[in-house]
Amino acid sequence: MTAVTAVDTTTERVVRRRGVLRRIAGHRTGRIGLVLVGGVVLVALLAPVLAPFGPEEITGTPALTGPSGAHWLGTDELGRDVASRIIWGSRTSLQVSVLATLLALLVALPLGLMAGYFRGRLDTVVMRLTDTGLAFPFIVLAVGLTAIFGPSMVNAAIAIGISQVPMLIRVVRGEALAVREEDYIAASVADGAGSARILGRHVLPNIVNTLIVQVTVLMPFAIITESMLSFLGLGVQPPTPSWGVMLTAAQAYTAQAPWLAVFPGLAIFVAALGFNLLGDGARDALDPRRAR
């Protein structure tokens, strides 16, 4: 009971600060998503405090011990605390997904905005490049990047980010196409505004809602994909904990120590679910047709 109250007060505090968050929190699904995502972020931030053991620390407990009072989620094949590794692993998941999403936004936002607003030849070029990008198999890209730069968390994030650029360009361009036809764009042209100002002050702010929803789609995708890449050995390298790395290690012990696979999988599930619910809530709460 106390735990629930504690979560509620923290959400309320965050909620009061931002209008967007408040509107999402007013939506039932959005509220659940907000709590789940907020939980994952808190766990990542407070990892040193929350985790009873270090992420790579080999505890005295024998390897592959099941969940117990000392090790809530058991120990892994090297006798490390699974709970601690999942807690530390949340940092990797969040870092990769934030990095990948930022990278995708950084590339796709200006290209999509300009393509949609200016149309013409620029639009044609950007859209054909986008088609090419969409036709390119993602795994090949990830393998290629790792082959050149070596497997690491950052490279995994870059691969995930790049893979999302074409889709994001399309979304941003579509929104820009719609906004450029609005009367207030014509009105600000009539007031003497230049293209840069119109893009920055009028087009971008009016597609932010769509972007927020897109981010909540990109984040869980990145989390799952990071796990997948790490599982394939293309992402985070052992012994650094990541939910994907933990799954990879667990596959050899599925029969003897199922908790090794179940708990990281559950963590991925909860984080992805949280972001998806948050996205659902954001889409409903920020839809101007419903808001106004």
Binding site: E182, D183, Y184, A186, A187, S188, V189, A190, D191, G192, A193, G194, R197, R201, H202, P205, N206, V208, P288, R292
Partner: protein, 339 residues
Amino acid sequence: MTPVLEVDGLSVGFRSDDGEVLALDDVSLRVEPGEIVGVVGESGCGKSTLGLSIMGLLPGSASVRGGGVRLGGRDLLTLPPGELRRLRGSEVGMIFQEPMSSLNPVMPVGRQIGEVLRRHRDLGRTAAAARAVELLDLVGIPDAGRRSRAYPHQLSGGMRQRVMIAIAIACEPKLLIADEPTTALDVTVQAQILDLLRSLRDRVDLAIMLITHNLGVIATMADRVSIMYAGRKVEEGPTRDILDTPRHPYTARLLASTPQAARSAAVSAAAGGPGGSVEAGGRRLAEIPGRVPTMTAPATACTFQARCHRDVDLCTRVRPELEPAGGGLVACFHPEESW
């Protein structure tokens, strides 16, 4: 005195699937400082195109085929894009028909006014915000300080049109182009907005080019009026003359097709007399048969000939030019002698 605006023989064409469509055919217009000039015509007559070409805002499918536009003596058609952009919003402002959608929905209205000031007048954020409140006050928005922080959806249509006007006059332009400024508003609000425009003309010596299809609006507002038909100006003159004694058959029939109450009010307002008697309804309005032709080339005959009640051979062969008649100009071989 140099006129604020001189449009001289302007022709504008639009590319379309069926070849070029001529939206403006040799149109001339003058607006003197502090004058309100009405431009009247039905949909598709080219009146909005005229406004847009003065602002340099014609869409990409349109091109100027000839003529010139001078604003305060400067030729707008040869001005480089950057120069033109500096003129827009500072020397000439424009307000549109749709106040509901002409404001950015995600920016407080005060900031939208401030934007123009910061762009054209190099004001800082605080100075622009303070001036924005003054402007909101000037356009008659009560509690301007608080309203400047409101978002467009928190304001009524009339309020929003006031905000649009505040934006348009923020940099004290000499000319305001108002394209159907009251069409989307309630009748009572229309009157308020028109009052505001008139008081601005008196207070800040603003010249206004008023584009509308509403003869009632013209009657209460305009000093002079130009009647447009199918991309050509067919009649021009002092508002009172035009409404009292229309000479072009199109003008006459346009007046006849206006509801009686509005028309008598219009005529008496133009005459400066007391409110006209409102005729009891029940009479069917006169309509003008046929429709506006689409011009693909400069006219070689009278453009109104097909819909004219008189059938004169000359009208089908020769294009009438604008000739002095009464206090104005009319393009008709057989102008109406009296109303």
